[in-house]
């Protein structure tokens, strides 16, 4: 019986192995990087959520203190951080530890606080950029 020489020379399996290993390592690394990025995003979400509820709890306590002050006939400004506006509203803000601020405006003219505005917004104001690069029409 005639034996045919092997077509696969020395080194072919090594090259194949290198390709397979490089591919597998690449996919495994990518999946690990993606999973870590997801985990980092989840941690940021958790920190942001905790910061919001912490600020919200502080605001609720200040509203309770505001009601107490109004019940006792004291000025809302006796509470630290509360400012009485000209339109008989009391305003205060609670800074969250993630760069946001909770701004609360309450009507205090009726002897108890009635919430008019409860806004959780970025502490940094936004700067309008020049619109010179935009097409203005015509």
């Amino acid at each position: 019986m005639k034996q045919y020489p092997s077509r696969m020379g020395v080194g072919a399996s090594s090259i194949l192995l290198i390709l397979v290993i490089v591919s597998l390592t690449l996919f495994a690394s990518l999946s690990l990087i993606q999973a870590r990025a997801d985990a980092a995003l989840t941690r940021k979400t958790a920190v942001s959520t905790a910061a919001y509820y912490e600020a919200d709890a502080s605001a609720q306590q200040m509203i309770a203190a505001l009601d107490d002050a109004l019940q006792q006939g004291e000025s809302p400004e006796t509470i630290e951080g509360v400012q009485l506006q000209a339109d008989k509203t009391a305003a205060f803000s609670v800074t969250a530890n993630d760069g946001h601020v909770l701004r609360v405006v309450a009507d205090v003219s009726s002897g108890r606080s009635v919430i008019l505005s409860y806004r959780y917004e970025s502490a940094e104001g936004w700067a309008q950029e020049s619109a010179g690069t935009l097409w203005q029409g015509g």
Partner: protein, 140 residues
């Protein structure tokens, strides 16, 4: 008798280079595969943990807003004066809630809401919220 019959047939060597290379390749592949499988398992574990944490945070936020909307609820409190209940969001995700009331404000009640989720792996996620409810809103 010819010359070719006198020359002994050439034996194929026991250490064939191709076989040696294949053996080395298989061993190296096994070694590499063990490392790569560990990487994939670590990625899977990280992804599952972060996915569970995301769901837990979302579930706690939903329950917190529900409780803040109606902190009194059925008003069934335990002997400590706290309302304790659980909300099953998913088969593997249950939010445990403890609502305690503080009657010290003069014109209302301050409710403290403590939410926890315990993962199947034993990790505990917690979220605290508060809600001030004036008496005028409680009364019908």
């Amino acid at each position: 008798m010819t010359d070719s019959m006198l020359i002994p047939p050439k034996k194929r060597g026991f250490f064939n280079p191709v076989l040696i290379e294949l053996t080395i390749v298989i061993l190296f592949f096994a070694l590499s595969a063990s490392v790569i499988v560990r990487l994939i398992v670590a990625a899977n574990a990280t992804a599952r943990a972060s996915e569970y944490e995301s769901r837990a945070i979302l579930a706690m936020e939903i329950v917190a807003e529900q409780v803040k909307a109606d902190p009194v609820g059925d008003n069934v409190c335990n002997e400590c004066g706290a309302r304790v209940f659980s909300v099953a969001v998913d088969p593997d995700l249950t939010v445990d809630c403890v609502v305690t009331s503080d009657e010290s404000p003069l014109q209302g009640t301050l409710y403290d809401i403590e939410l926890t989720v315990t993962s199947p792996l034993g990790k505990v996620y917690a979220l605290d919220a508060e809600r001030y409810l004036p008496d005028a809103e409680v009364a019908p």
